[in-house]
Amino acid sequence: MDSTTVIAVASITTAGMTIAIGSIGPALAEGRAVATALTSLAQQPDASSTITRTLFVGLAMIESLAIYCFVVSMILIFANPFWKEVIAHAGSK
């Protein structure tokens, strides 16, 4: 296989696996966070605004890890520097 094919296969595979494996951890963590928040809401309903706000801030922080994986995946598919280099090299040949 020449280098063009290797780069294409590696980019496509890595993009898929990045977002697939990268969203497992944040999903589990967000589930646990919401479950704990619901438990504490049931125990103290009058603190619900504080609990809700803290829950949303925590969820955003956990979500950003999945967003990092998504950004890497998008870069590999749409703004891949290795692919651009290879295409420019093949075009100028």
Partner: protein, 237 residues
């Protein structure tokens, strides 16, 4: 397919490129400034308050309440900066429902600029509140061994602010664009609604995180507790 709206260039002169992100940001700024100017021309304190003024008052008072809850007691000092952050990101997210509009916060350059503003504002407010020595001492808390970790933490949370907002807005736009090529009829509407929700949540998160960072930098350590005095017995009447 364009990842961000940076690639659409309207006008170019040497090094300076006028792309869609900059033009959209200018339009958003013009809408906000002109709208605020129109609404605050005739402010009344009593009697019949126009609904636009009432709307602005709701926004300002709820922002002040949120800033107080984050831990910044004098919310008037921080309201201009944090309020502008929230209003800009929220307005950019709200306009997603307009056709042909791409949010400028879906470009890493805009979100990096906003994160840099927060990165510069934290020492600004910290030094204003505690003086240069007091602010630099917060980097050595709780022990001086934590100094490199505090510095790295400062840089990484700025980067996280930028990438979090960029990732959320860019992914919303990209999902809708991809769906339009697959099932163009009903499903993109739901994804646009979800994009609206996440856009508003991200605006709130950005502001609250900026507020938390500023509160951490301006937190004066509590003085040692004064010894409790015995309460004086009430005089018998």
């Amino acid at each position: 397919m364009n990842l961000t709206s940076d690639q659409v260039i309207f006008w170019q002169h040497g090094f300076f490129k006028l792309n869609e992100t900059i033009v959209t940001t200018w339009v958003m700024m013009a809408v906000m400034i002109f709208g605020a100017f129109l609404i605050t021309r005739k402010l009344v304190t009593d009697g019949k308050v126009s609904r636009w003024q009432a709307g602005l008052e709701i926004i300002v008072t709820s922002l002040q309440g949120q800033i107080k809850e984050v831990g910044l007691a004098q919310s008037e000092k921080y309201l201009p900066f944090l309020g502008t952050l929230f209003l800009f990101v929220a307005l950019c997210s709200l306009c997603i429902i307009l056709p042909g509009y791409k949010p400028p916060t879906g470009s890493l350059s805009t979100t990096a600029g906003l994160a840099l503003c927060v990165f510069l504002a934290v020492p600004h407010f910290g030094i204003r509140k505690q003086g240069l020595g007091g602010y630099l001492k917060t980097y050595t808390e709780p022990t001086w061994i934590m100094l490199p970790f505090n510095i790295i933490g400062e840089l990484s949370r700025t980067l996280a602010l930028a990438v979090r907002l960029f990732g959320n807005m860019m992914s919303g736009v990209m999902i809708v664009a991809i769906l339009l090529t697959i099932t163009p009829f009903i499903f993109p509407i739901f994804m646009t609604a979800l994009g609206l929700l996440t856009g508003m949540v991200q605006a709130y998160i950005f502001t609250i995180l900026a507020g938390v960072y500023i509160a951490a930098a301006t937190l004066t350590p509590a003085p040692a507790a004064a010894p409790q005095r015995k309460p004086q017995p009430a005089p018998a009447t």
